[in-house]
């Protein structure tokens, strides 16, 4: 942290909040609100004379309220920059002069109450989102009595107690009587793996944090009695199982079963009722102190930042990476990367790994000073655009700007466009050209493929990343499937325009298949949602005009599902055989009449 503060090429904005982000990869404009510190950052030597005279005493946030600080303070000894800060809401104020004792105490005259919040705009090329986490608030888990019993602590409070730099200098003391506890219990999965309270995911770090806590306790006080109540101990990392074994060898009692109730004895120690899985008996444990191993929740700023940067979230509320295996640190928006718990619960080592990867990914993108991007982008024919805003609505990358009210035509930001083609498929006025996958190109393919014996053919649209690759896989795996399938490749199933389907049926296609990546696996964030919606709409239209809706099928086939591809094609062939020549002729007639 101090290295970052000292680095000549890193600009660190503390006490700052990102208000707005505009632009795209290579050209982001970030508006930052830098709050007033009321202390000259460069002059202050953090001598602490000001804090000594400050009369305002407040709970210290860094020590989770286990100690106190003043209204002018340094959050913790290693804080960067090494300068004090005034919490102006707590300060008694100097105008009219109420206190101003700190100003008198400061020899260097660093304190200045006339500072005001500043707005800064920084131009940056890429952004790493490392907004961290928030611990779970255990107040709602009433059975553990966190709000009722003083000797029930959270794992963070315990961490401050056992930390040598903490308020007790590393001496573990009971909050009620300031005496060393003879026995300590840990409850795992507080706010984790719960469908109702907290998150239903595993928070990843709490098991090993507890194991570390038990080892430190045993090191400090070998005779202390430690019990850990858990559902599963997840010691999966390098060297973790060894730590767990060591903890058990030192006599820490690991007891499978989550407590149901915690009550307080008259001497303020705690009575924990738990059923021990090993014995199958309900046991009552008397403990001097209880520690709740808190789970990890996404930071509260996540949603705001998500809207600002146009990012996606997982159902848990963490940021969603572009691909879980192949692009684990990239956001779907080009030029944005993730590091640490913003992307999901993880420990320090993993966070450092991810942060290093994010930095390297950003450098790889930025070092040339220019980036190359695919020519497959969409383009608006301004004269045809009616500024309806549909394209901007469906674009997964927010690459299209259009002002519906002022009727300013749509404009595509080529650097932000990834080329899925959903906008072109959705545009009701044919005002968008999808380069390399234009309407005439695809319509000509449809025509060519159905030129001879159309009733023998299966027309299939396949997306480049999943279904087309799935077909490839079926081929290289030497799988047998009907040879009368005719594939048309699009970048995304979202490109498949309604008019391609009608054209297909009008040219005599018995059946048409639209295929793409599974929902949630779309390579263009969520463009295939629009495919699904569109197909539903077409099905309804088909039903209305008297065409059997089954003749248009939608299937999700991934690149690894060669077998599935072959099965789907067999099904399509069976379906094709069910379509009679009369039916095809009737459909062609219906569609021709519709055009008239």
């Amino acid at each position: 942290m101090t290295d970052v503060g000292r680095h000549p090429r890193i600009k660190l904005h503390t006490l700052s909040e990102v208000v707005d982000v505009k632009g795209y990869v290579g050209n982001f404009d970030v508006r930052i609100l830098k709050k007033a510190r009321y202390v000259d950052e460069k002059e202050c030597t953090a001598c602490g004379d000001c804090a000594e005279v400050c009369p305002v005493v407040r709970p210290d946030e860094f020590n989770l309220g286990l100690s106190s600080r003043k209204a002018i303070f340094s959050p913790f000894p290693q804080a960067v920059p090494s300068a004090y800060v005034v919490n102006i809401n707590e300060c008694l104020g100097h105008n009219p002069s109420v206190c101003a004792k700190c100003i008198d105490a400061c020899d260097k005259g660093c304190i200045n109450f006339h500072m005001s919040d500043q707005e800064i705009v920084e131009s940056v090329g890429s952004i790493v989102v490392a907004t961290g986490l928030e611990p779970y608030d255990p107040k709602e888990l009433d059975e553990y009595g966190y709000t009722r019993f003083e000797n029930v602590l959270t794992s963070l409070e315990f961490e401050r107690l056992i930390n040598a730099g903490g308020p007790t200098k590393g001496e573990v003391l009971r909050p009620t009587d300031r005496k060393r506890p003879r026995s300590i219990g840990f409850i795992q999965c507080v706010g984790s793996r719960s469908a109702k309270k907290g998150g239903n995911y595993c928070s990843n770090v709490c098991c090993m944090n507890t194991v570390k806590g038990t080892l430190m306790l045993k090191e400090h006080y070998p005779d202390i009695d430690i019990k850990v109540f858990y559902i599963d101990i997840r010691a999966f990392g390098k060297g973790f199982e060894e730590l767990y074994t060591r903890s058990r060898r030192l006599g820490v009692h690991y007891l499978r079963g989550l407590p149901g109730t915690v009550e307080e004895d008259p001497d303020r120690s705690l009575r924990v009722a738990v059923e021990n899985t090993a014995t199958g008996k309900l046991e009552i444990h008397h403990l001097d102190m209880l520690v709740l191993a808190l789970g990890i929740k996404p930071a509260s700023s996540t949603q705001k930042l998500q809207e600002m940067l146009g990012l996606q979230l997982t159902p848990d509320g963490f940021f969603l990476e572009a691909h879980p295996k192949l692009q684990p640190v990239d956001a779907a928006t080009r030029g944005v990367f993730y590091a640490g718990c913003a992307e999901g619960p993880k420990d320090i080592k993993e966070s450092v790994t991810q942060a290093s990867a994010a930095a390297a990914r950003a450098i790889r993108l930025m070092h040339k000073g220019e980036i190359t991007s695919e020519p497959i982008t969409s383009q608006v024919i301004t004269e045809h655009c009616k500024s309806c805003g549909k394209c901007a609505e469906v674009c997964p990358y927010n690459a299209i700007t259009v002002d519906v009210k002022k009727k300013i035509p749509a404009e595509v930001n080529a650097a932000a466009c990834a080329g899925c083609g959903t906008c072109a498929a959705e545009c009701p006025f044919g005002a968008i050209i999808m380069n390399h996958f234009t309407d005439p190109q695809i319509l000509n393919q449809v025509e060519a493929l159905l030129e001879e014996e159309p009733k023998e053919k299966i027309l299939a649209f396949a997306c480049n990343w999943c279904s087309y690759a799935g077909a490839d896989f079926a081929g290289v795996s030497r799988l047998q499937y009907p040879p009368n399938v005719r594939l048309i490749r699009t970048m995304c199933s979202g490109r498949v325009d309604e008019k391609f389907i009608w054209e297909g049926f009008e040219k005599g296609a018995p059946v048409i298949l639209v295929s793409g990546c599974h929902i949630g696996d779309c390579h263009y964030i969520d463009a295939n949602h629009w495919t699904e919606k569109r197909i539903k709409k077409i099905h309804k239209k088909m039903e209305k005009s008297g065409i059997r809706p089954e003749r248009l099928q939608l299937e999700w086939i991934s690149a690894a599902e060669g077998i599935r591809f072959a099965r789907v094609m067999e099904r399509m062939e069976a379906l094709r055989q069910s379509v009679t020549e009369e039916e095809i002729a009737e459909t062609i007639e219906i569609l021709k009449n519709r055009k008239k």
């Binding site: 059975e143 793996r193 719960s194 469908a195 109702k196 149901g260 109730t261 059923e275 309900l282």
Partner: protein
Amino acid sequence: MGNVDLEHADMNFRKELARQPGGEKISACFMCRTCVASCPISAVNDRFHPLRIIRMALYGLKEQVLSSDFIWLCSSCYACQERCPQGVSITEFMTLLKNMAAKEGHMPAGIRAQLDLVKGEGRIYPIDDFDNKKRAKIDLPAVPTTCGVVKELFPE
């Protein structure tokens, strides 16, 4: 506890339960034992064990679960349901089991007696002339000693 006899297990029992209100989420149970540790009945009577009942139901031991008397021990305090991290509606599941047991004709004599009493008298604790005399003493109006209208609610 003896060996679990899965020979006569009814594998469709869990599906049958999942279709009914209260039984939808029982297979989400990951045996953390919060329910047992929360249960005021388990604390005093180790024959009642919510987790064991759920596991028996999931194993398909239909006959054993429905004919047992332990399902009737639940006091419906909802402590387990409130605390279950997996969102299993344990108390409602117990009600479901009781209803199923009653339909199959398994009902402890005490419960049966209560049921008959309600059916016949409309009350579990019948009111007689003695109660009305006591009420009269403190100027309370008399209440009817029979409640025959209840019979209309339970057509045979």
